[in-house]
Structures are given as structure tokens and as C-alpha cells.
């Protein structure tokens, strides 16, 4: 099946983003396709290159990056949510004249239209957050 996963919580603030990761990994292992991972609202914090964990904690962001890369998943962070929360790629950093960019290269900034498109194109949409 073609699945889309929506994540709207930040890593570590709640378990939801971790659940989304475990669900996505299991779905891929079972042979399903992830049409899109969409990070919305506080979920965009999952795409920050600058997030840093202690050595003895699960590195959720590193896990996302590995998963996205090894399965070539289309992973999108909502651009308006991301800008508000200080998650920028090089292009947006230049546009708004900010001193740095921090979006991990496995993610793309794009609009909510990509979530609507995914809703139309996928067999199922599963949301994690709160």
C-alpha cells in the first residue's frame, strides 16, 4: 500500500514523533511504500540538523535521516511551520537574510499543498502528534 505519514509533534517533547518513526520503519519493512513523510507544525523540528542528543539517548533525527536516505523517501517539512520555528534551508536563509541554515539535507521545505497532494495520491494517511 501507498502510505503517507504526517508528523506534527517535535522529537523529545512527546513520544509521537518516535512512534511515527517506528511505524514508518515497520511499514517499509513489510514492503509498503511511503509516498511521503510530511512534517507539519512542531513536527518540523524533526528536520533540524542542529539537534544534538546525549550519547546514551536515541537519536531520532539521525534515525529519520538514515531511514529517508536508505528508502529514498520524499520527506517534506512544511515551509511556513519551519520558518516560524527557525528551520531554514540555504535558499530560505538567503531569502530572509538569516545567518545560517539548518535543514538536514534529507528533507525538503515545501507547502501544505504537498500534504493535500499526498492525501489524494495515497491509500492511507496516518497522523502522529499531540
Amino acid at each position: 500500500m501507498k502510505l503517507t505519514v504526517l508528523v506534527h509533534s517535535a522529537p523529545y517533547s512527546s513520544q509521537a514523533a518516535y512512534s511515527a518513526y517506528r511505524f514508518s520503519a515497520s511499514a517499509l519493512a513489510a514492503g509498503h511504500e511511503i509516498y511521503r513523510l510530511f512534517f507539519y507544525y512542531d513536527g518540523v523540528h524533526n528536520s533540524s540538523l542542529l539537534s544534538t542528543q546525549a550519547q546514551d539517548e536515541f537519536d531520532l533525527i539521525a534515525a529519520w535521516r538514515t531511514l529517508i536516505e536508505s528508502h529514498q523517501i520524499d520527506a517534506i517539512s512544511c515551509v511556513s511551520s519551519a520558518l516560524k520555528r527557525g528551520i531554514l534551508d540555504a535558499q530560505e536563509a538567503a531569502r530572509y537574510e538569516k545567518p545560517a541554515s539548518n535543514l538536514a539535507e534529507q528533507f525538503t521545505l515545501s507547502g501544505l499543498g504537498q500534504l493535500v497532494d499526498a492525501s489524494i495520491e495515497s491509500d492511507r494517511v496516518v497522523s502522529f502528534g499531540g
Binding site: S80, A94, R95
Partner: protein, 112 residues
């Protein structure tokens, strides 16, 4: 930083896409100058649309995307004007993007 030079030497900061950085800087004169850069010469036909847009934003806090923009113009100025072809002639490119820029509103989201 991009900016708009007014004839009276005032400098209005713009974002990279040419939208006002600070909405309170808008004035009819600013609109004229923004239009001249496109280039468009603002006529009464343009102004009535810009006024409808500004009133809509004032009431609802939203810059309308393309389809709602066309419907809004149809509702307030009549169905002969609430048509994409008419609005495209007045505001070349994407009319909702161009008109919101000239009206001093934020960039509409989800505008194709």
C-alpha cells in the same frame, strides 16, 4: 536588502519576492511604484480590485489564493470582472500574487 525608492527619497524595504516587509508602509503611492517596477500602470480598473483585496484582508486576515480571489472579485465587482482572463490582463503572471503584492498584503499561501 531589496527596497523601493520613492520619489520623495523614502526607502521602503521589500522582501526578495518584492513584497512589502512591513505592511504599514503601504500607501497608494507605494502601490504605484511597485506597479511601475512590474511594469503596470495602475488605472481605476486596477484600483477597484486592489480596494476589494484590501477590504477583504482587513475583514478576514487572509490574502486570498487564486480561486477565492476570482470569486471575491465576482462577488464584489460583478461576474464580468470576476474572471481569470479579466484579472490576468490587469495583473499579469499570477493575478492573485501580483495583486496582493500591489495591495500591500502578505503573499497568499498555496497559490499556483
Amino acid at each position: 536588502m531589496r527596497s523601493l525608492q520613492l520619489p520623495n527619497k523614502a526607502s521602503i524595504p521589500l522582501d526578495k519576492d518584492g513584497y512589502l516587509r512591513d505592511m504599514s508602509n503601504w500607501s497608494p503611492e507605494v502601490a504605484e511604484q511597485l506597479a511601475a517596477a512590474i511594469p503596470i500602470t495602475l488605472t481605476p480598473a486596477h484600483w477597484e480590485v486592489l480596494e476589494v483585496l484590501r477590504a477583504f484582508y482587513q475583514t478576514h486576515g487572509i490574502s486570498p489564493a487564486t480561486r477565492p480571489f476570482v470569486k471575491l472579485v465576482a462577488r464584489d465587482l460583478g461576474s464580468d470582472k470576476g474572471r481569470s482572463i479579466y484579472l490576468m490582463k490587469l495583473f499579469p503572471g499570477n493575478p492573485a500574487l501580483t495583486a496582493s503584492k500591489l495591495a500591500g498584503l502578505p503573499r497568499p499561501s498555496n497559490c499556483f
